[in-house]
Each structure stands twice: as C-alpha cells, then as structure tokens.
Subunit: 203 residues, 2 copies
DNA sequence: CCGCGAAGTTATTGAGTAATCAGTAATAGT
DNA sequence: ACTATTACTGATTACTCAATAACTTCGCGG
C-alpha cells in the first residue's frame, strides 16, 4: 500500500493550491457561516478551517487573530447588504410589482430595496451573522466597526431612497424584527420569504 | 500568624450563609448581567461565581449545567418584561402624559406599556441579554425556550393592550430596533431614555 | 532542472474552562 | 451537646482552543 497520501490531491486537478487572496476569501465565507450559527466565542478557528478545507494554523497566516477575522466578516456582511441595496435602487422595478401601484419614487425605491433585502437574507446566514455582530459589541473594537457600518448603511439607504428620517426608522425597525424572528425560527424556513414581505409591509 | 483564614468571614456578620433559594437568585442576577455582556459562550462560570461572591463549583450545585443556568436566566428576563407590561396595562396613566392626548384605550395601554418598556431597559442589561438570547438560538433547547417565551409575550401583550395584529407587529419591530441601537451604542447611555421614547413613537 | 518564494502542514504550548469529588464548616432540630 | 442536614470550598480532571514555531511541498522564472 504505497503512496496512500496525496491520492486524493492528484485527482482531477481541483483543490490544489490557491492564491492567498482566494484563500482569504474562502476563509471569510466559511467564517461568516460559522460565526452566524455559533457566534464569535462559540466558533473555534478549527471549525472554520475544517469548513474551508485547510489546516487550523493557516488561518493565522491569513488573518492576524480570530477577532480580526470576525471584523473582516462584519465588513463583508455589510458590503453585501449595501451592494444589494444599490442594485435594487438603481433598478427599482425589476422582479417587483411595484410599478403597478403608483407611489412616490422614494416609496418605489424603498419598496424595491425591501424586496432585495428579503431575497438577500433568504439564506439565513447573513441575518444570523448580523445578530452575532450586535451581540459581540461588548468588545469595543467590534462595537466601533459595527456602529460605523450601521451608520454608513443608514446614510446610503437614505441617499438611495430619498426617504424621510421617520420612514427610514420604521423601515429599519421592521428589518430588525425580521432578524429576530428569523433567529428564533418563529417562521418556518420555507415561508421566510413570504413572511419577510409581510413584516416589512411590502407586496 | 495563626488563624489568618476566616478573619474576613467573622467581621460584621454579613456575607454569611444564605439559603439555597436566595443564592440561586443571586447567581441568576449575576448571570444575567454577565451573559448580557459576553454572551453564553463568552461568559465563564468563574466570572459569574466571582460576581456572586461564591466559588465556581457551587454554581453547579445550584444549576445542573451552564446551559441550564442560561435557560433560567432567559425565563427571568422575560418574566421581568411581562411583569412590567402587566403593571403598566393595569394602570396606564401613571407616570405618563397619555391622558392629555385622547386616543383609544388600546392606544393608551400600548403607550403606557411602551413607557414601561423604556424604563425597564434603561438599565441596559435586560436589553443586551435579550440580544444574547436570540444570538444563542443555534442551540435548539435555547431556541425552543426563547420562542416559547416570545410567543407568550406577544399573546400577553395582545390581551393586555387589545391592539391589532398590525399595531403589535409595528410595536415589537420598534422594540427590536431599540435593542439593536442599544447594543451598538448608537445613542449615548444617558440619552437612551429620550431616544427610546422617540424610537417607539411615544411622546 | 534548480532554487526560491509562497502555500501549506504537523507538532506543540500555555491558558482557560465546565464539571466532579471529596471534604469542611455552619446551622437547625432535638 | 450532639447530630443531621445544608451550605460551601479547594483540588483536580479532562478537555478545548487560540496562537506560535518549525518544518515540508509546490510551482514558477530563469
């Protein structure tokens, strides 16, 4: 039985070496998923390594510490939401019935962004990770980052939608309710989409 | 240097023995505070023991496991909110200007309960603990308990206030926004009260 | 084909941590 | 006063986990 090792590696040509940047990205995705479920302290670097398919210590060549990895994950998470919002605002009437009901342009855009958000968080990881980020705010560095990204998201949403401060507050409030409801599984996973629309008051 | 030990114990007469029930309660309070900040996995039983002023192993005589302690803390937390709501609903016009503006009885009661909630979570621990409870919902036992208590709270709130389903959804959505905003310290601790009133849409 | 930098691993450490056990001291009941 | 019960602690265990160090392997440019 010679050369048992690397038998798997050779096959196909997949899962060979990746560039550091690629690996960083893979680790980041795995990290968001893992952190989303178990939180900062409940997730071990070992878990993240296993999901990524690399050894645990290699994480620390890509990120200086577990906390730094978490911070990077926060950025990635907000980036995704922001991107979805921008795209929805640019093209408010795609995949939406909002051009039927009239409404002001601001309403239409907010509406479209709501749809985008619901679609985005249909995969629950993003939603759950957000909750974990809020929960981890005892750490001051994390709190600062989350706060900064939250404020930026509100600003961007305001600019994109042109909605008033009160409208936005209500809008975000409903989003947060959606987060909590998803966390505790008040709504069956399959029905999350429909429920989301209802909770946000759209559609 | 004889009898150094117990020198502290003798003095005064305080910090002597408590009944198991008393200690259980003390541990529970300390646990809520600690869990609120660091979460289920970020809080060690040692921390809770230190806060309570007992040895770490004694925790495990009062609670079978750390998770059971957390579950008990969840119950205590929701109990407190529920109690505050009941009290507010029974006597809606105490410490409130709501008898000035008319409004339906349901509105007045919801209004009063909103005030009660804001007052309750002015000490942030309750708020933060709630977030930690939602975040810990990856554990199925915890999720079930949180879900059960949440549903019960909604039912109680509905009965007490007589508000409609839509009113309640909005009400709870704003509460959740308040939670998040408090978590990330978007609002200075001192101003939390005023901000809370504004966020909940109460005068 | 060689060697050098980048990608990746194994082994290890040191600090912490939930939980158990075996015991000690205070109090209540008689 | 004495004993049974109840409150509580110290020592320890078995284990996990972030982080480091020291090593190996790959693949590219010359």
């Amino acid at each position: 039985m010679p050369s048992l090792l690397k038998a798997s590696r050779r096959s196909g040509g997949r899962d060979l070496r990746h560039s550091a940047a690629e690996r960083r990205d893979e680790v980041l995705r795995a990290a968001v998923d893992a952190f989303a479920i178990h939180g900062l302290h409940g997730t071990s670097t070992e878990m993240i390594a296993k999901r990524t398919g690399i050894s645990q210590p290699y994480i620390f060549r890509l990120f200086p510490s577990k906390k730094d990895l978490f911070l990077a994950a926060v950025d990635q998470c907000f980036d995704r939401v922001e991107a979805a919002f921008r795209k929805a605002a640019e093209n408010p009437d795609v995949a939406t019935a909002s051009h039927h009901l009239g409404g002001s342009p601001a309403d239409r855009r907010l509406h479209a962004m709501g749809h985008a958000y619901v679609r985005l968080v249909a995969h629950r990881e993003l939603l759950l990770f957000q909750m974990q980020a809020y929960a981890a705010c005892a750490d001051d560095e994390i709190r600062r980052k989350v706060k900064q990204r939250w404020e930026r998201l509100m600003k961007v949403t305001a600019e994109l939608s042109g909605a008033s401060r009160d409208e936005l507050t209500l809008y975000f409030a409903r989003g947060m309710l959606l987060n909590v409801v998803a966390s505790i599984g008040l709504v069956p996973e399959g029905a999350a989409d429909a429920w989301g629309h209802k909770a946000l008051g759209i559609g």
